[in-house]
Amino acid sequence: MSTKHIENASAREATSRRDFLKVGAVLTLAIYLPGCSPGDDKGAGAAASGATKFEPNAFVRIGADNTVTVISKHIEMGQGTYTGLATLVAEELDAAWSQISVEGAPADAKRYGNLAMGGIQGTGGSTAIANSYEQYRQAGAAAKAMLVAAAANRWKVAAGEIQVAGGVVSHAASKKTAAFGDLVADAAALPVPTDIKLKDPKDFVYIGKAVTARVDARAKSTGTAKYTQDVQLPGMLTAVIMHPPRFGSKVKSVDDTKARAIKGVVNVVTFVTPVSTGVAVLANDFWSAKKGRDALAVEWDETNAFSQGSAEIMADYRKLAKTPGAVARNDGDVDAAFKKAARVIEATYEVPFLAHSSMEPLNCVVQISENACEIWNGEQFQTLDQGAVAKLLGMPPENVKFNMLFAGGSFGRRANPLGDYVLEAAAIAKAAATPMPVKMVWTREEDTKGGFYRPAYVHQFKAGLDKDGTIVAWHQRIVGQSIMGGGPMQGMVQNGIDPTSVEGAANLPYTIPNLRVELHTTTIGVPIQWWRSVGSSHSAYAIECFLDELAKATNKDPFELRRGLLANHPRHKAVLELAAEKAEWSKPLAAGRTRGIAVHESFGTVVAEVAEVTKTAAGYKLDRVVCSVDCGVAVNPNIIAMQMESGIGYGLSAALSGAITLKGGLVEQSNFHQYTVLRMNQAPAIEVHIVPSTEKPTGVGEPGTPVIAPALVNALMASTGKPIRALPLSAQGIKMA
């Protein structure tokens, strides 16, 4: 088994039809480039002569010791953003890759806002590289221009005669050279240029080349990378928590006698935030706190407890799916088309709640002092968390300081729009009234049972076919909770439509003349949140599998059916064709083997996957996944391949056995024996093929995820002949080897 990443020439041809962004030989862009000191959002550049470091803007710092530090406004949670942003800076700065390191930015939306989130500082929606592509290149280009100007002044030569390559500034005629570090003091005294030229893409040495190792590879291979879990501060206490067993319950009374008797336990507090509540045991170490937590006797006030089970929830959803909902898209005349249709096919698809289940269970370190708060966290949503904590503690947001750590995964979870877990840590430190830092650690059990799940959904489909089997009408009704509704993102909900609920459905790329998408937004007491690929995590499965049902019903090849329906979407079509070509779709497979295909766009990136399965005595074995992706300019092909592999693996966990289920309001799963995830013995070989492109880059952290469930399920349907209309497969009687 191996993973290959291959750039493909025929795909280059296929995409040459695309309407490429026309770029001149040299770009001059007015991109927002703030300065290096807090509050300096103008980029004035604090110049000082004799400086030992050179900070031309908020994103780059060059030391006299020749180090180049890239300041990342985005969290590194595995998706490779530190490496991606460093690639952008190194490219325009012409730095040596070995002199680059990356550090996380403080919380300061003025300087480090996400340009794709209206300036809020945060990471999500696969936007990190997309919103930084020009900004971080400009940051590097500005630094380079100033180093060149400094060298020109010193050597008394024209700036235009100076070359920079691999971290060395040189003047050929005079044979003079300088390292970046030698020029730091001079460059720091110069004004920051306002007219910054970016490279012609043909001159790229890093972007698009698989030459750069991840900047965090060594630290993460030697156990030295620091996560929130690893923060150790003098006098620090560890807090282990107990949430109510049912969502919506409150603490009625706590008997902490036994807990306080445990050696190492120093305090037991009840905490309340605008989002959640519970009891925390604070101790000198995790183990004592955990023992204390297990010794608590808590009575819960269940007046407002959510007490439904998954079976009742889904039964309600199915009923709702039979009634008209809010209209998210309405093309042609769907009702008339169904009346005329020669054949109508209906199906209902269902998906359960899912936990994010990052490898590092949720945690956060908070220290409260007089009118200030310091937080150590793998922080994904700085601006919202800063505001929420400031409000809870009654202090101005700028007094809440964040220190960035690596995050051991997130998959959306650390970007809770309500700040749930960060607020809990702050509320615990406040309730304990301690000046000491408090490290709140959720156990795996709390992490699994703690809510903020990918919502459960029902998708009901109806397709109308004419006498030739052409799809003339498409009706999809989606039922489930709204992720954006009710919180700080409420403004995104327009006319009763949360765009994340209908993601992938309302923008269906297939050409079908009469098409309607409706939504029922339910309100139940299960806390929910975005989960890697958000709406696409369920819509791609439902849509792409129903499409295969239609292919089967009309005796069409699933690839050819899609290809025909994508005539107006050449980009999707090219990605689909590349996956099919690389998987040798037209070649018959050996007996016992079948394949499935699916294509889906999310976050501006199109991904197609072909899954190949073998029927064995022990169950179905997923042998291989062939993946093709168009994400615009491939800033770092290695990272793109890694993210496709990761997305596929993450989606596979959910497809195979991922389900959070409730019974009487209680979550039935607690740890990895019940919430089972993909392991080495089930991991397929994965090939990733990148479509060459000169379009602006789009995200890669999420788009690999939604496509694998339908590709796999379609491969299984090709074997069994039966549709699989609910996930996970383990609950549908499908045995995987």
Partner: protein, 152 residues
């Protein structure tokens, strides 16, 4: 008080005998390379070597490892096999979030120490106790084979 031998050094830790080795390492010896993922021997993030055997430190009390040789990610690179595994990990760009990788490398090093040329089936058997939520499995497999090649 427990007397332990960690990475070749004798150390005394003032903890209850029932404290899992993981928390003695992390909270009392400041060795945070070994990670907590599940606390139930289900994920492998806490894998260390005890007398050379890959073991889940979250589920072994310190009282059970007194007098045994404990090796952690902090010094596994001092061994030829550990260093080869780490270099292969870097070359193959295995780590994503990286949180599971200390445990993965400890399991892989134990495998490679006893098996110079592991097959896919050997890798499945030795590595399936280590979860990676970033699903870096194909690269872990490639890195183990690369390390085996470099040691041959």
């Amino acid at each position: 008080m427990a007397a332990l031998t960690i990475n070749g050094k004798s150390v005394e830790v003032d903890v209850d005998p029932d404290m899992p080795l993981l928390w003695a390492l992390r909270d009392h010896l400041s060795m945070t390379g070994t990670k907590y993922g599940c606390g139930m021997a289900l994920c492998g993030a806490c894998t260390v070597h005890i007398d050379g055997q890959p073991s889940r430190s979250c589920s072994i009390p310190v009282s059970a490892v007194e007098g045994k040789q404990i090796t952690t990610i902090e010094t596994i690179g001092d061994s030829k096999v550990g260093a080869a595994a780490q270099e292969a990990w870097i070359t193959e760009n295995v780590a994503q979030c990286g949180y599971c990788q200390s445990g993965q490398i400890m399991s892989a090093t134990a495998l490679l120490t006893g098996n110079k040329a592991p097959t896919d089936a050997d890798i499945d058997a030795a590595m399936s106790g280590n979860i990676c939520r970033c699903a870096t499995y194909p690269r872990i497999r490639a890195a183990i084979k690369r390390a085996a090649g470099s040691l041959a």
